[in-house]
């Protein structure tokens, strides 16, 4: 992943595809790479990093982002 200003480019070795994304999904992807593996953990960490409320809205945004990642083949989601 490479970022310039508030936009990032991600190369997926899984799919061979390159993706353009904003800083929020790039942060989610970075945290996944760092080992965080569920949306609740992600929400807590992102709230702390971005100094925002760890609430249902943030959690929903993260889950939408994860669903986008799955659709793009960047991650594989396991049902809870």
């Amino acid at each position: 992943m490479r970022c310039w200003d508030d936009t990032c480019i991600v190369y997926s070795e899984l799919t061979g595809q390159t993706h353009l994304m904003g800083s929020f999904p790039a942060l989610v992807l970075t945290l996944l790479k760092d080992g965080l593996s569920n949306s609740v953990q992600l929400s807590a960490r992102i709230a702390s990093t971005l100094q925002v409320e760890d609430d249902a809205k943030l959690l929903a945004t993260i889950e939408e982002t994860l669903a986008d990642f799955e659709r793009l083949g960047l991650v594989e989601l396991n049902p809870v």
Binding site: W4, T7, E13
Partner: protein, 305 residues
């Protein structure tokens, strides 16, 4: 020995027979052709290029010749062969010289994966290279020819070769392909320019090639540091506008214009990311060539050289 050291008759005889080994920057191309217009095109547009030993190694063995079938007697056609195979359909016979140029582009863009090969013109000034990626019809070649006519060094009109090992641009200077109105525009803009014969009714319309400057050919082994990426767009009547483009957006646009980005995988990604680190990126809308070349020439240097 250069191509211009051969008399036209001798060049033609060699092309009919054993061929010539033409050095274009880092590549040697073994060319054979029985077609007079190919010999004339080489004699005019490649006059300054070195010829190398006939016994030497060649990167590409190419032949431009009539097809080996009965069609040659029905409708005069020409075929481009590389290593004995023909990747394209035949073209009308009078497009033979242009087909040599297009075929050579194919050789490099399809085989030279030691580079990230970008569909872009590239020119250099004071050690800094400006890459001009654009789809056909964007005024890329016209702008390239204009810049070259105003003192920039031609690295390539069509194929930007970004070296994977050090991020430098490897020159591949060849005749600049001018299409339709651009032929007259450059003829007027640079009256001293040598432009080959016009081939009409090609898939791109009327096509003619501009002979590369002698200095660009002589310095064809000098790599250059990339400094700018400019996406040109020619539209009649448009006012001149040079606007910054974000590096991430430029990355995606250059990747779309690269022939082998997907083939190279992570190497291509890293090479392009490094290119973006080193360059400033712009979009240029223009309709007046003089204005466009002036604004690009006035850009301050960005990357360390």
């Amino acid at each position: 020995m250069k191509v211009s050291d051969l008399a036209p008759r001798e060049l033609r005889q060699r092309l009919i027979g054993p061929g010539v080994f033409l050095r274009i920057a880092s590549f040697v191309t073994h060319v054979r052709s029985p077609i007079r217009s190919v010999a004339q095109g080489l004699g005019l547009l490649y006059a300054d290029y070195p010829l190398v030993d006939d016994e030497g190694y060649a990167d590409f063995h190419v032949r431009v010749a009539p097809p080996p079938s009965i069609r040659r007697w029905i409708q005069r056609q020409v075929v481009f062969f590389i290593d004995g195979t023909s990747p394209f359909k035949p073209l009308p016979f009078d497009q033979a010289s242009a087909m040599f140029e297009w075929g050579l582009n194919y050789c490099v863009s399809s085989q030279c994966h030691q580079y990230l090969v970008i569909h872009a013109a590239v020119v250099e000034r004071q050690g800094r290279a400006m890459i001009l990626p654009a789809p056909p019809g964007s005024g890329k070649s016209t702008l390239c020819a204009g810049l070259v006519s105003r003192g920039w060094r031609l690295l390539s009109d069509e194929l930007t070769l970004l070296r994977l090992q050090d991020g430098l641009i490897e020159p591949f200077p060849r005749p600049v392909s001018l299409k339709n109105e651009s032929i007259a525009i450059i003829g007027h803009f640079a009256p001293q320019a040598v432009i080959g014969p016009v081939t009409r009714d090609t898939s791109k319309g009327a096509v003619a090639h501009l002979k590369p400057p002698t200095d660009s050919v002589a310095r064809a082994r000098e790599a250059a540091q990339p400094a700018w990426v400019v996406f040109p767009r020619y539209r009649p009547g448009d006012p001149l506008q040079l606007s910054p483009v974000s590096k991430a957006s430029a990355f995606m646009r250059v990747a779309e214009n690269a022939f082998n980005y997907s083939v190279l995988g992570p190497k291509g990604f890293n090479a392009l990311a490094q290119l973006m680190d080193l360059t400033e990126c712009f979009e240029l809308n223009y309709s007046q060539l003089e204005e466009a070349t002036a604004v690009l020439t006035a850009l301050p240097p960005s990357a360390p050289c």
